[in-house]
């Protein structure tokens, strides 16, 4: 079989086309949002919001409303409460997060016990199912990507300022609480639309791993985001082709590739210079250029 045929064969199946489009969009979204999460040391948040969204999924099933709506409501609710707790109490972010997501998850489990016959559907959602991405899911992911692109175009620099130095930003009159909530809401949105496709655990990998690999090679925010997106996309494509030809579970294969990228990145990088003086002369992150 020639190369073209090798590359195009999966696309004769609608579910493979949707898988490629869906996961690629998620990879782009995750690259952007994941960079912020990783830099703030909130890797845990993706997992937490995914579990909180589980409570929303159950609520949506019981109420007979679209699953995405329920998951999104719980995801955004967690983001909102996290912001409120962060400002009104002295609790650390990870503490508030642990309380909120386990609470929401427990609600989900309780709700499920009322209607046990839905268990099958929900476990599929927790683990995710790349090959079951439907047209509606693609629309949700597209919507999330478009909204994120719009917000980033408008407020990217403000979001960076608030993440880097919240105290300085607030003192200078930036609406810090609103911007932090906005960022957390984007995280919630990303996690919820990615949930169906890759599941609660794998979504964390797509958010964090490419951004972490990119951070080994770039110390410029914009380049780091670009590199994270690129790594996420290549992991997606390599993973999905591998999964197609070797019949491995697609979500897990994509994440395995992303993890291998990180391991390779760690092995191949030049050692970071120790002192500021040597940093002037060498080192991957300190090359001088004017943007």
């Amino acid at each position: 079989m020639d190369m073209i045929e090798f590359l195009t064969e999966p696309f004769q199946y609608g579910f493979m086309v949707r898988a490629f489009v869906g996961v690629s969009l998620i990879a782009v979204l995750s690259g952007v949002i994941g960079t912020f999460i990783m830099l703030k040391g909130l890797a845990f948040i993706g997992d937490a919001i995914a579990h909180a969204a589980f409570g929303g999924l159950v609520a949506a099933l019981l109420l007979g409303i679209p699953l995405h709506v329920g998951a999104l409501a719980f995801g955004l609710g967690t983001a909102g409460l996290l912001t409120v707790l962060g400002r009104k109490t002295r609790l650390r972010a990870d503490t508030s997060l642990a309380i909120l997501f386990t609470g929401a998850f427990a609600l989900g489990v309780l709700g499920l016990s009322v209607r046990p016959n839905f268990a099958g559907d929900l476990s599929a959602l927790l683990v995710g199912s790349v090959l079951a991405i439907g047209t509606t899911d693609i629309y949700w992911i597209l919507g999330a990507a478009a909204l994120t692109a719009l917000i980033m175009a408008a407020a990217y620099r403000h979001l960076v300022f608030v993440s880097f130095d919240p105290v300085g930003a607030e003192s200078a009159g930036l609406p810090v609480a609103a911007l932090q909530l906005l960022l957390l809401s984007l995280v919630a949105l990303t996690v919820v639309v990615a949930l169906q496709a890759v599941g609660a655990i794998l979504v964390v990998a797509l958010l964090i791993t490419p951004a972490a690999t990119a951070s080994l090679y770039s110390r410029r925010m914009e380049r780091l985001i670009g590199l994270a997106v690129l790594l996420g996309l290549t992991a997606t494509w390599i993973g999905l082709y591998t999964s197609y030809y070797l019949s491995t579970p697609p979500g897990a294969t994509v994440v395995t590739v992303a993890t291998l990228q990180f391991a390779l990145g760690l092995l191949l990088r030049r050692r970071r210079p120790k002192t500021a003086a040597t940093a002037e002369m060498e080192g991957p992150g300190v090359r001088r250029s004017v943007a």
Binding site: K40, Y156, V167, G168, A172, G173, S215, V286
Partner: protein
């Protein structure tokens, strides 16, 4: 003229415990002021109140004649170093450009493109005072203590040029008040150029493109000062900026602060280093929950005042007109 800072009968409490009680303090524009006092005496609380982060339960704070929250864009607060995520993949110049964001509505699509506009004018913003040139204060210091001081005059001159230039073009939106700043921000200069100019003024232009995490403590402080300049802040508040800086870095910092003062900006910093008070500061306030003392540095450095501020005897040595603290850390 409207004072830069006007604090009247202010009491601030965390929960029910008062940290500051009945504070009265007035600082004219163009002043370099030091806040001294024992740990836990309320120095940082005073700064946070001035910037509007803490609300007094009694009394009134006025910055440039207005509520601090309303003039936030004219204030720059440099928090203690550990509150900032220095690992962020930003270059020094990126951090300095952040200073222009408060003048940009975040919800406007591509709003950052508008950052090059001149910031709005605030009535009562101070004009440069004739009192002290950038070099005056430093001249009192022994030469041995002035590494790099030779730069100061040249930089002051350069700013002076920009300043006159600004007046020629910028008076259209004046409110009848003399105001010497901000015009350099207009005239179609890009945020990057404005940031580079600010970095030049804190003598860090050669480090502009380095990751912020690679800079030393003193350099990071100066990057934040450059950010304040890029914001065109009239009031700059620094919380313990000299802590963890070596003597050279402290002098560099104070040199720059004096230049900013000479431009009519007001600078307030908390400090533990009593020895530098007479060299650089115009006014000193001693805080131990209440205002224990407020006056000139020379008046501060007498045993009775120091004992009142710190609640213990602070041994001092007077020689050749200079007062040296020998027993206080």
């Amino acid at each position: 003229m409207t004072p830069c800072i006007e604090v009247k009968g202010v009491t601030v409490a965390y929960e029910d415990r008062p940290v500051l009680e009945d504070i009265n303090w007035t600082v004219p524009c163009g002043t370099l002021a030091a806040v001294i006092g024992p740990n836990g005496g309320g120095k940082s609380t005073l700064l946070r109140t001035l910037v509007g982060r803490l609300k007094p339960i009694q009394g009134q704070v006025r910055i440039l004649g207005q509520d601090p929250v309303r003039v936030r864009r004219r204030i720059s607060y440099l928090p203690q170093n550990e509150e900032i995520e220095w690992r962020f993949p930003l270059r020094a110049v990126d951090v300095v450009m952040q200073g222009q964001l408060p003048h940009t509505p975040w919800w406007l699509p591509f709003g950052w493109l508008r950052a090059r506009r001149a910031p709005g004018e605030i009535p009562g913003a101070g004009a440069p005072t004739a009192r002290n040139g950038a070099g005056d204060c430093g001249d009192r210091r022994p030469d041995a203590h002035e590494p790099g001081h030779g730069h100061a005059h040249g930089h002051a001159h350069r700013y002076g040029d920009a300043h006159r230039h600004g007046h020629a073009h910028g008076h259209a939106h004046a409110h009848g008040h003399a105001h010497g700043h901000g015009h350099a921000h207009g005239n179609g200069r890009s945020p990057f150029d404005i940031a580079m100019e600010a970095l030049r003024r804190v003598r860090l232009e050669e480090h502009a493109l380095r990751p912020i995490g690679d800079l030393s403590g003193g350099q990071r402080q100066r990057v934040l000062l450059a950010r304040a300049l890029s914001q065109d802040a009239q009031l700059i508040l620094l919380d313990e900026p000299a802590t963890a800086l070596d003597a050279t870095a402290q002098h560099d910092l104070l040199d720059i602060l004096q230049e900013l003062r000479a431009e009519g900006r007001t600078v307030v910093m908390t400090t533990h280093d009593l020895n530098c008070l007479t060299d650089c500061f115009d006014t000193v306030i001693g805080i131990r929950r209440r205002v224990v003392f407020s006056g000139t540095p020379e008046e501060t450095l007498v045993p009775a005042t120091l004992t009142a501020v710190f609640g213990q005897h602070v041994p001092i040595l007077t020689a050749e007109g200079r007062v040296t603290i020998i027993g206080h850390d």
